[in-house]
Structure formats: structure tokens, C-alpha cells
């Protein structure tokens, strides 16, 4: 890996923790904290957030002063394809049924790999959808619509 200005993994992880801690404080500021003997609902979340804040600042600070590691390049293709495939499933399953949702998920997910072949994916998608319906709806009795109508 090339020499970088910052230790990016540390810096990013630290910033992430600081963000989470800040979000927690923002989300719980209305809840009462209470005392240790009589804790309110906000006591523990804020206690955990404080620890996270400390960890976050530590990592971020360490990331700023040390300078070696970069991050392996993010490849967009698998990331986007898998994310869209899962999103499609969530979007389609209730209104269009399991059959459509499964087929769409398999086909879009397959785009993530360079090696996928068009016809193979179609055939595989149809048979996997059929298998999923058989297994989850018929055998395991998952209450979900199968067809769009």
C-alpha cells in the first residue's frame, strides 16, 4: 500500500464513532437521564455514547498523526448491485409477490459479478425462485403473497 498522509482506516472509523455518538445525543436529548440509583431512559444510551465518543476521538486523533495506511479501492459494481438487489426485494415482495421479487433479486445480484452469463442467470433465477417458493411458502408456511395478482 502506498504511503498516505493519514491513517485512513483509523480516521474513518473514529469519525464514524463520533457521528454515532453525536446522533445518540441528538436522539435522546429529550429523555430524562435520572440518577444512578434511579435511572431514566436516557441514562444508559448517553453513557454508551460517551464511551463511543471517547473511542472515536482517540481513533480519529491517532489516524491524523500517524501516516501509513490507505484503504483498498472501493469497487462500485458489487456494492451497488447487491444493495439494489436487496432494496428491490424489500420494495417488491409485498406488492408484487415473492415470485417477482425473487427473480428480480437474483438477476440484479448477479450483475455484481463479471463472470455472470446472461442466459445462465435467467434460467438459474427462475429455478431458484421456484425453489424458494416451494421451500419457504409451501414447506415452511411463510405468509407472503406469491403472485402479483
Amino acid at each position: 500500500m502506498t504511503q498516505r498522509r493519514f491513517d485512513w482506516p483509523d480516521l474513518l472509523f473514529g469519525s464514524f464513532l463520533v457521528l454515532v455518538a453525536a446522533g445518540t445525543f441528538a436522539a435522546t436529548w429529550k429523555l430524562s437521564g435520572g440518577t444512578a440509583a434511579n435511572m431514566g431512559p436516557g441514562y444508559m444510551p448517553r453513557a454508551f455514547a460517551l464511551v463511543l465518543l471517547a473511542f472515536g476521538l482517540f481513533f480519529a486523533g491517532r489516524g491524523l498523526v500517524s501516516r501509513h495506511a490507505g484503504i483498498e479501492r472501493v469497487q462500485l459494481r458489487p456494492l451497488v448491485a447487491i444493495a439494489v438487489a436487496v432494496g428491490l426485494f424489500a420494495f417488491l415482495v409485498e406488492s408484487f409477490g415473492l415470485a417477482v421479487a425473487s427473480l428480480a433479486t437474483i438477476i440484479v445480484a448477479a450483475v455484481a459479478s463479471h463472470e455472470s452469463r446472461f442466459f445462465e442467470v435467467i434460467v438459474f433465477g427462475i429455478s431458484m425462485s421456484a425453489a424458494a417458493i416451494l421451500l419457504f411458502v409451501k414447506v415452511l408456511a411463510l405468509p407472503v403473497p406469491v403472485w402479483p395478482w
Binding site: 429523555l31 440509583a37 444508559m44 469497487q75 458489487p78 426485494f89 455484481a112 445462465e120
Partner: protein, 499 residues
Amino acid sequence: MELFDNLLLGLSTAMQLNNLMYCLIGVVIGTAIGVLPGIGPIPTIALLLPFTFGLEPASSLIMLAGIFYGAQYGGSTTAILVNVPGETSSVVTCIDGHEMAKQGRAGPALAIAAISSFFAGTVATVIIALLSLPLAALAMKFTAVEYFSLLVLGLFAAVILAHGSVSKSLAMVFLGLLLGVVGIDVNSGAARMTFGVPALADGLDFVPVAMGMFGLAEIIANLERPAVRQVVSQKLRDLIPSRADLKAAFPAMVRGTLIGSALGVLPGGGAALPPFTSYAVEKKLAKDPSRFGKGAIEGVAGPEAANNAGAQTSFIPLLTLGIPSNALMALMIGALMMQGIQPGPQVMTEQPELVWGVIASMWTGNLMLLIINLPLVGLWVSMLKVPYRLLFPAIVLFCCIGTYGISNSAFNVWLMLGCALVGYFFIKVGVEPAPLLLGLVLGPQLEENFRRAMQLSDGDPSVFLTHPISAFLLGIVVVLLLAMLSPAVLRKREQALAE
């Protein structure tokens, strides 16, 4: 003999026809995912959890446990034949096991791996049975104070003994704890960090979190690496090892079993530590250490016995104290809670059939594994020919359906997607996600016990030090943390965990 009675009770539960069937399903699924690199037991168990809801508690735990130790068997098959560890626990088996396969001794290597695993599994079952009673009796004396300290010890020890940077793993534990308190506060009824989403009122479900971070994020990261998997083409003859093989392997098997059993009980010991330790020990004890790495049979027998023994004894803290020693056991806790059973020492006395049934099922399961693994090894190997480009879309689909199935809500699928993206981020910045899962599962328990302890003591935190057991447990945490700061220990740990 109480122990004998208990084991008999367990056997009668485990031998029920339906439980035998669930055990078989578990070990078959386990072997399959063990053989296939790229899917581990964690997403598989998470996937099946929603569907165990309708089963009896014992049947569901028997099946899930079967997946876990079945995966250890399957992982070694891939390690020996393809030199790719199917699971982290079989990384060491690759070294000498694959070397034996290259010399045309794949058959004996597989057989020794299976026999060692079976031997270790049998001994570990007895050890679990022996240790469970006194530990559970001790745990019955625990109040909220001791329980809180025990949870703290469990979390810290799990982090220190597991892979990766200690400070980052600790941060992940706290992140998990924070996620664990999302939902309606049981004491005041106030919604905490639900952001107005009604589906979050009951808290974050750990199944979507586990599947997103372990299943999907792994897939995305795997796809970025160029695929290298050579196809196996070796005839498997002579499965039966020679008498000399057995004689050489037996002492290693015994030592591996002992090492695995001891390390498995420790939180975080789980799957990775025992085989590495056993391999190092065998190499040190051998008359001619140079044979290691060139197909030494002890290098297969020891680690294989150790990983199986470790996998099984890691159930001890779960069954007796109700605390998970690794992320997988955290899922088991989830399985118990789905059945309406609050994990803890009382489970042993209230649900003896469940606990002893699961323990006894490990033995029947190991016997089944021996049978389905040795004669049918060719079948498992042919599974390796399924290309990853077909495998991963199917896994994505099953994760979606499984997550949807928990409460029939698309919300959980979105949650899984979010966790997958965060999990991918964690992989990119080199942080292990397992501690987060532990924190998530233990968060509510930790908060509840802390709150109760504080109420008992009127808000005085010194109560954790004035109770002797609690003080002792926290003392171990301090010692562990101090040890981590010493450079010598740090270097040793890096060596031990280096792959």
C-alpha cells in the same frame, strides 16, 4: 449419580425421532456450508432462526448446534482437498492436510480429521456434562451485581482473545451495546432512538444485523477479490488410515481435545484459537519438527480435535451462565429468547430436558457426522464445483427471504441492507464485526442488571467491589486489560493469531 441421570435424560430427549431428524438436518446443512467457502455458520443460523419459532425449544437448539459443529467437519474437507479453509477454524488444517492430499494420502487425512473430530466431540460432551452442574450451582448464587460483572468479563474476554485490534473491538462492543438499548425502555415505557419507526419499538432485531454484516457485507467484499479456486481432481481411495497413522495421530488427538476443551470454555476462545494453539504444541513436542508443513499426520489430528472440542465446550458458558462466548453463541441466545426462555443459570433447573438434550445431541450429531462425512465425502466435494457466481445471488435471495420472515415486514430487509453497507464499511476499515453482535445481544441484559444493582445499592458503584465474586470477576478484567498493555504479551498474541 446425578450426572448419569442427567445424561440419560438428555439421551432420551436427543434420541426422540423428531429430534434425531432435526439433528440430522442440522449437521447436513452444517457440513454443506462448511464445505462451501464464503458462507459461514453465522448467517446460516441467522437465516434459519425465524423458522425455528414453531419448533420445540430443544429441537430448535439441537438443529442450530448441529449446524455449528457440522460446519467444523465440512470446513476441514475443503481445507484438505482444495487448500481453501471452508471456515476460519480449519485454516491450520490446510497446512499439513493439503500436503498429505498432494502426496496422494487425501483419504487417510480426511479419515483422521473425521475420527479426531469425533473423538474430541465425544470427550467434550462428557466435559460439558461434568462442568455444567457445579457452574450452574455457583451461578444460582448470583445477584444482579455479580451478573453484571460476569457480563462485563464475558464481553472483555471475548474481545481480548478474539482476532483483531483490541481497542477497535472494544469500541465495537460499545457500539453493539448502544444498538442493544434501541427500543421501548422497559422501566419507563419511553421510546429510545426509535426515530418514530414503530418496527423499532421492540428493539433492533439481531437477525437482520447479523445477516447484513456477516452475510451480505462478506459477499460484497468477496466479489471485489479476483476468484481463485482450483477444481479438485483427486481419486479418493483407501479411506481407512493405517495402523501406524492411527498410532501417530492418537496422542495428538488427545492433546488437541484437552487444549480445545480448555480454550473453548473461555469467552472468545470459540473456533479460531484452539486449532492454532494445538498446532503450535504438536510442532513443539514433535521429535522432528521439520516434518510439519510436509504432511505430518499429527498436524491434522491435533488441530481438528481441538477445533471440534472447542466448538462444543463453548456451549458451557451459554448453557450454565446464559452468556455467549462468541457471536455464534449470541445467536443461540437469540434462539432461546425467541422461544420465550430467558437465558441464565435457571435454565438448567427449569428446563433440564432442553439443556441435557442439547448436550446429548452433540454426541449423536457427531456420530452422524462421522457417517455422513466419510463414505459420502465425494458428494460434498462435488458441491465445490458449484461456481461462486451462482452461489452468491442465491445467498442474497435467501438472506432477503429469511429476514423478511422474522416478522413479515419489509422494514427488516431495509435494516439488513443498512447493516450490510455499514458492515462493508467495517471490512474496508479493517474492524471485526463479531464484537458488535455480542454487545447487541447482551446490551439489554447488561442495562437491566446494572440498573437493578444500582437500585439495590442506592446508586453507589462501589457495590461491584464489595461483593467478593463480583470483585474477583472485575479483577480478572483488569488483569486481562493490563496484560494487553504489556508489549511482550501483545507480541505473543499477534503471533498466535497471525494466520
